[in-house]
Amino acid sequence: MTPTGLEISGGETVLFWVIAPLMVLAALGLLFVKRAVHAAMCLVFVMVSMAILYIAQEAPFLGVVQVVVYTGAVMMLFLFVLMLVGVDASDSLTETIRGQRWIGLLIGIGLAAVLGGVVANAAFPPARGLEGGDPGGVANPQALARVLFGDYVLAMEAVGVLLVTAAVGALVLTHRRRLTPRKTQESVAEARIKALPDGVILTPLPSPGVYARSNAMDTPALGPDGEQVPQSVSRVLRIRGQERPAPHGPAVVVSTSTAREKTGSTRGTTASATTESERDA
C-alpha cells in the first residue's frame, strides 16, 4: 500500500467555501438569536451542513449517521423538550456574575485564537486520503465495520450498555411519583356515603323546571308536594340571584328559598315541608 497524495478537487473547494461560511454564520446564530427554537433551527442547519462535509470527506457512512442521529433524533428531542419547557422561555437578562458576558466573550475569542494558532503552527504530514489507506481497499461502510467490529468490538459492547443505561436513566429521571392515591369509582362512592350526615345528596341533582311558558335554566322544578326545589337551579344562578319563581304552584318568594337553602340541608327542608302538607291534608 503506497501512500498516494491527496488531491482535493475544485468541486470540493467550492463546496467548502460555500458551506463553511454559512456554517459559521448559523453557529453564530446560536450565540445571538433570542429564542431557543431559532437556535435549534440554526443548529439543525449546522448539522446538515456537517453531514455534507462528511460525505465530501470520504465518510459517507458518518454523513448518513449524522443526518439520522443528530438531525433526526437529537434535534427532534431538543424540540420536544423546548415544547415541554415552553417555547418562549427566553433568557433572563440579569447578570448574576458581574461582567460575565465580556469575560465569556474574551475567553471564547481567546480559545479560538489558541486553537487557530495551534492549527496554523502544527506541521501536518502530506494528506494521504482514504483511498490508499483502506484496509483491503473496500468501500467505506464495510471498511469501517471491519475496524469497528474488529479492533473496537469491546468498546462497541460498552457503548451498547451505555445506551441502555441512558434510556433507563431518562425513564427514571422523568418518572413522576404519584403523591395521592388514585381516585376510583369505589372510593368516590364511599366518600359520598361517609359525607351523607353532612347534608350531601347521594343522587344526582334534580333538573330545572319545564313548564308551558317557561323552561329556562333559571326556573326551579316543583317537588311532589308542589314546593319549589331550589337546588334544581344552577348554583351560579342562585348565588347571582338570577333565579325566577316557577310560574305555577304556591307562591314562594325566591329569596326565602335561597335563604333556606343556605341555612340548612335543603333535602331536610323539603322533607319537612312534605310532612307538613301531609299533616294539613
Binding site: 465518510a59 433524533a73 431518562a170
Partner: protein, 99 residues
C-alpha cells in the same frame, strides 16, 4: 485548498460552541452549545482520518456520536426534571448550593 481548512473550521465551530456555553442562560441553548462542540470535534476526527489515511478517526467520530446521543437523553431528562420542580429553564436559577 489545503485540508487543514477543515481543521480550522472545526476549531472555529468549537470556539463558538464554547462561547455559547459560557454566555447563554437558557439551559437548552447551553446544551446546544455542547452539541456544537461535539460536532466540531467530529469534523476534526473525520478530517484527520482522511489526512492520515486511517479509518480509526472515523470510528472514534462514530463513538462520539453514540455517546453524545446518550448524553443528550440524560441531559434533557435532567432539564425537564429541574423545570418541573423549579419552573425555570435558566441555568442561573439553579443556585440552591450557593452558600
Amino acid at each position: 485548498m489545503d485540508i487543514t481548512n477543515y481543521v480550522v473550521l472545526a476549531a472555529v465551530l468549537f470556539a463558538i460552541g464554547a462561547t455559547t456555553v459560557l454566555l447563554r442562560r437558557n439551559a437548552i441553548v447551553v446544551f446546544m452549545g455542547v452539541e456544537l462542540m461535539l460536532n466540531a470535534t467530529n469534523l476534526a476526527f473525520v478530517t484527520f482520518a482522511r489526512l492520515h489515511g486511517d479509518l480509526t478517526g472515523q470510528v472514534l467520530a462514530f463513538f462520539v456520536m453514540v455517546v453524545a446521543a446518550a448524553e443528550v437523553v440524560v441531559g434533557l431528562a435532567i432539564i425537564v426534571t429541574i423545570f418541573r420542580t423549579r419552573r425555570s429553564a435558566s441555568v442561573d436559577d439553579v443556585n440552591l448550593l450557593k452558600g
